[in-house]
Symmetry: C2
Amino acid sequence: MSSTYNPIRLGVVGLGRAFALSAPAISSHSGIDLVAAAEPNRAHREAFTKAFHGDTYADIQTMLDEADIEAVYISTPHGLHKEHALTAIEAGKHVLVEKPMTIPLADATEMIKAAEQAGVTLIVGPSHSFDGPVALAEKLIKSGEIGRVRMIHAFYATDFLYRPRTSAELSTDLGGGVVFSQAVHQVDLVRRLAGKPAQRVTARTGGAWDSERPTEGAYSMLIDFEDELFASLTYSGYAHFDGDRLMGDISELGTPKSPDTGETARQKLTTVANEADFKTSRGFVSLESCPKADTHEHFGQVFVFGDLGDLRLTPTGVEVHNIKGCAFHEAPFRTSRAEVFDTLFEAVRNRVLPLQDGYWGRASLEICHALLASEASKDTTSLSHQHN
Amino acid sequence: MSSTYNPIRLGVVGLGRAFALSAPAISSHSGIDLVAAAEPNRAHREAFTKAFHGDTYADIQTMLDEADIEAVYISTPHGLHKEHALTAIEAGKHVLVEKPMTIPLADATEMIKAAEQAGVTLIVGPSHSFDGPVALAEKLIKSGEIGRVRMIHAFYATDFLYRPRTSAELSTDLGGGVVFSQAVHQVDLVRRLAGKPAQRVTARTGGAWDSERPTEGAYSMLIDFEDELFASLTYSGYAHFDGDRLMGDISELGTPKSPDTGETARQKLTTVANEADFKTSRGFVSLESCPKADTHEHFGQVFVFGDLGDLRLTPTGVEVHNIKGCAFHEAPFRTSRAEVFDTLFEAVRNRVLPLQDGYWGRASLEICHALLASEASKDTTSLSHQHN
């Protein structure tokens, strides 16, 4: 995938936190030329010009009208994804949209149809289903390494809810809380490992345990997949226990942590005068200040149990446990999120169908809605958008 | 609890594996004098005489007729618990019966009523709810250390199903499989930490993944407790991954493990000519050959999430994670299972009501049945024996 293969001319919408986490991967990816950005905040635009030497615009429409781009990476707040995706699609651009692709399921369908009609690619990502160890685990499973997959288990504990948040990020209706921001990751990667359609969800959520932050902050769910495969997924974003302790003290972003000296999000938040300003300050400032991963990103403990062996995902690869013992398979690492932009390149240049397309993103989104519906009804929720 | 407090004169029924695991605790407990044993296998009886200098009998009735005992520890196979418990109760003895107390719920009720009518104590144990770190965690919770408890998470992976088994132990109807033998532990300890009645269970089981061992070997379940507390419990007894790796390489029994050199149950089973003989050989042989714990027993990962902090149970104590960081609380250790015999002593001598009484044991048993019922119906199962 060297640059002789004609890199994709990419524009980005939104230079906040999500972009800051992807910027190192984009910057070093030989298949991507990031040439334009649309963002209302001037400081972020200036930082972009400095880092990428691209053109900047105050809004997406101007960027689409003026910039010479083939694809748009949409890293705006959840509530703007649909509008921005449709605008880019109508302009004939390929779209990479952050998860969740949108909040209402009907909007997801509208985005899928629009991309189909326009003949452009729609990819939903980054999400942790792109992580190198997840891709490697999928490959090992498909090769028959652990036989038939029977059960998947995923558990992660973070202080997600205490990272700086906008009010929308603390309102479930607007796509806030851990269901749409975090469950969507866990669901995405579990679905990739399951490799077959989900059927039903039973879940309990912890909502508004902290009345100052009145949205879901934790959940446990059971997912039934076809062929009697089931998965259990548990997450807390209220946690005082740091789930990265179970991952060799590597953060979700693939950076090393010192568990006993690092300041937690909860501690930090108590020292912040204005949460919205603090949030803005975590947007794109410079490539140098973006988190630099030494290993793959991860989403906490993930185990896959099969007839012939089990897989344990780590930030550097996959452990295969079988009757002979434990063998470690390393997942080659370039930058975190490199796989997302590989996928974009392959889809646009080589017409390789992406796994995480619009239908895929809608299926994960449906499970997030089912999680809420199951909690509300205290009953099991059936799924109907998992086959396409 | 020195011996000047008049130790309890105890008889045991069944000198198999369960007894072998409790023998060190009994032998060193100053409140217990183990003076008699009933067991059909002569080799085990002889080993008992050598170790405990007590009298031995081929059956429980003869022991009850002839031995001077106040209490009976029933460590026979599950299917015999009810008969042996009722026999002991009718003879006016206090009863400590291994978990599960029996299999049919109606039998559990019969045992409870019989003990009440006879005015004797009925305790269900050992189970991992007696473990020192579980007791310490309960104490920390009750002291308000982590505020309101919101969510509990438990996960363990073992090769339980490949340890030597009788045919009954591989038949669910006879109380075999991981539901009645292992879920009952996890349920017991989660209930103790929850500290309030359970209401509903939704679960999936993995059954007969290995057609040679046609019983449940794995499960995931969600338990709703009162006040919106919920718990997720996941267990695999088919696992190639050794869950003790997540517990500092300490075995369930509190003994140190070398994960890369120890022979697994699966490996060992392939070298065994007769599984029943192998099973018998793991019964009581001598005190010296019983597993000797350096730390408390454990049942894998257990996390308790509260408003003000989280607890992580370890084989030596409890980590408290809160905004200030992590503080470790050590759980004083004598022998594994010492707490079970403390409970028996306090109940019989000092009329301290045991937590793990017949009603408690029936409530955990009901959840095991609900686990199976939820899998069968693919629906949520309501509970009705959790308040007493």
